[in-house]
């Protein structure tokens, strides 16, 4: 698992325990107690002079999971991409108090869509290796695949031969390969079936419970995230709610964002 409190699936300390403490991570951890993992101030994004994300501010403490919730077209993915510096924005984004460029090694990203030619000749191992830092041991590929519930033998399979669920897990394993401290996931359950979704939820729970990795994930599925995340940020162009799901996801706020239909999926919360 991706940090100093690393454990294997069996709960034993990972053999690569010592390598997690390389200089930049150690330095950042020294500040982790006082600085939020992610800090966003007055972030706005405009396309063709029209604001699609307006004046969003929030903080995520280290080890928390934050879900960006909202209907299609609410600006969730746009906000996430702006936070990652993939699109222009105004405002300020800080990771452990630093500008994104200074902490590239500490973050990882799993995009919503990974469109690639399924006939392209590349193995899972080769694909994973593309993201692996040179100072990371090659054996970590197998470890990360096991972490996401895939057998090490899958390394020699062609990437294009994987099912949607397996591919999604490989993408997450690849994102975890350098032990990031902040993981950004864009609709991680979008391309997988119900079984795959359960595995994904289990994996995120494991990351939450056994590591102090901070996760920022985009989702439109209240049912999936409400029992999983520490905080939700409801978005509909602008920030509609922010806080723990129990308090932020009120009947009123859900109705404001999704309309009446979403009540059907808001399983069991006291609103």
């Amino acid at each position: 698992m991706p940090n100093s409190s690393s454990t294997t699936n069996n709960g034993r300390p990972s053999p690569e325990h010592e390598e997690h403490g390389h200089e930049s991570h150690a330095h950042t951890r020294a500040h982790a107690d006082i600085l939020p993992a992610v800090s966003v101030r007055n972030l706005s994004v405009s396309f063709d002079r029209q604001k699609v994300v307006s004046d969003v501010s929030f903080e995520v403490p280290q080890g928390d999971i934050l879900a960006l919730l909202g209907p299609n077209g609410s600006g969730k993915t746009t906000l996430l991409r702006a936070m990652l510096g993939l699109i222009p924005y105004t405002g300020e984004v800080r990771i452990f108090g630093k500008h994104l460029h200074a902490v590239r090694e500490l973050i990882a990203y799993v995009p919503q869509r990974f469109d690639f030619d399924r006939n392209f000749p590349i193995t899972v191992r080769e694909f994973m290796d593309l993201a692996r830092h040179r100072h990371s041991p090659p054996g970590r590929v197998a470890v990360r695949l096991q972490d996401v519930g895939l057998a090490p033998e899958i390394q020699s399979a062609r990437l294009g031969s994987l099912s949607g669920g397996q591919l999604q897990r490989v993408l997450i394993a690849q994102a975890l390969i350098n032990n990031p401290l902040v993981l950004f996931l864009d609709e991680p359950a979008a391309n997988i079936d119900i079984t795959g979704e359960a595995t994904l939820t289990g994996l995120l729970e494991q990351l939450r419970d056994k590591t102090d990795v901070t996760i920022v994930m985009v989702s439109h599925d209240i049912a999936m995230v409400s029992g999983l995340v520490d905080k939700v940020l409801c978005l509909n162009g602008q920030m509609m709610c922010f806080g723990p799901p129990e308090t932020a996801l009120t009947e009123k706020s859900i109705k404001e964002i999704f309309g009446d239909r979403k009540r059907l999926f808001s399983h069991g919360h006291q609103h």
Binding site: G85, R104, F114, I122
Partner: protein, 289 residues
């Protein structure tokens, strides 16, 4: 024994000509260079790029001929200009690269034809640029090609992983710290430089075959990315060196012969892939339930 002696005599005679020596060395260098760059062209689905750049260079050649300058350096500068303009417009207009390549391909070619109409009389040099001529490769050309190969291959060696990562998953590579913008520009520049160098051997019309054919054949035979890259480089060398030999043996145009050999390699690979697929389907069909 006689066959061996005859073959040795044939190769000794072929390599006794300095122009053939230069053609082989230049060809071997360009084979590696264009196939290595071709791998990324294929990943990024920009097979049209080499063709576009090569045809665009006609305008540069025409300008040089009218001005009495050396055509290839001017064509090189022109190709660089076009490559960087495509890169810039890709970002600002959000049009797909193939659309922009098509625009520059046709516009630049048309400009070349119009400019050529101002020059009087028969232009034998123009034909050598259109169809390639190994006789025109001079020692200076060889040195330039060697220097260029060294620089581009060095850059490819250092950037191979980030280039592959960004070609497959651009956003993830950018988040991981790859400077996607500069690396893309560098790839376009390298492709433009290598393509124009290849014009001497294969000509404007056929040079893109060196980018497309070996990588297309290599891809059908490969299982992993490593075998794809190595296979493409090997097939590229096979294509250009055997093409040059056949063209010398039967006194055929070198560029066209190289392309035909490459096409033969491609069809053999396609046949193998088809048969392999058919056998796999039968084998699966025979498995007990």
């Amino acid at each position: 024994m006689d066959t061996n002696t005859n073959m040795a005599a044939f190769f000794l005679e072929m390599f006794s000509y300095p122009f053939m020596q230069r053609a082989f060395v230049s060809g071997a260098l360009l084979a590696v260079l264009l196939a290595a760059l071709g791998v990324f062209v294929t990943v990024r689905k920009m097979a049209f790029f080499g063709d576009g750049i090569a045809h665009s260079s006609l305008a540069g050649i025409a300008v040089a001929m009218l001005a009495g300058l050396a055509p290839l350096p001017v064509a090189l500068v022109w190709a660089l200009f076009v490559a960087l303009l495509i890169w810039r417009l890709e970002r600002s207009t959000r049009l797909p690269s193939d659309t922009l390549i098509g625009v520059f391909f046709t516009a630049s070619m048309a400009l070349g034809v119009v400019l050529m109409s101002f020059s009087r009389g028969y232009q034998p040099e123009l034909l050598s640029y259109l169809f390639g001529s190994i006789l025109t490769i001079q020692s200076g050309d060889l040195l330039v090609t060697a220097a260029l190969s060294l620089v581009i291959m060095g850059w490819l060696f250092l950037s191979f992983r980030s280039l592959t990562y960004m070609s497959l998953a651009e956003d993830s590579a950018a988040v991981a710290g790859t400077d996607v913008r500069s690396q893309t520009a560098a790839l376009y520049v390298a492709l433009a430089l290598a393509t124009v160098r290849g014009v001497k051997i294969l000509g404007i019309i056929l040079v893109s075959a060196l980018i497309i054919l070996p990588t297309a054949a290599g891809r059908m035979l490969a299982y992993s990315f490593r075998s794809y890259v190595i296979g493409s480089l090997f097939l590229s060398e096979l294509m250009i060196l055997s093409g040059l030999t056949v063209s010398y043996r039967f006194d055929l145009p070198s560029g066209a012969t190289i392309v035909l050999v490459g096409a033969a390699i491609f069809f053999l690979a396609a046949a193998w892939k088809t048969m392999d697929g058919a056998f796999s389907v039968r084998a699966v069909g025979r498995q007990p339930r």
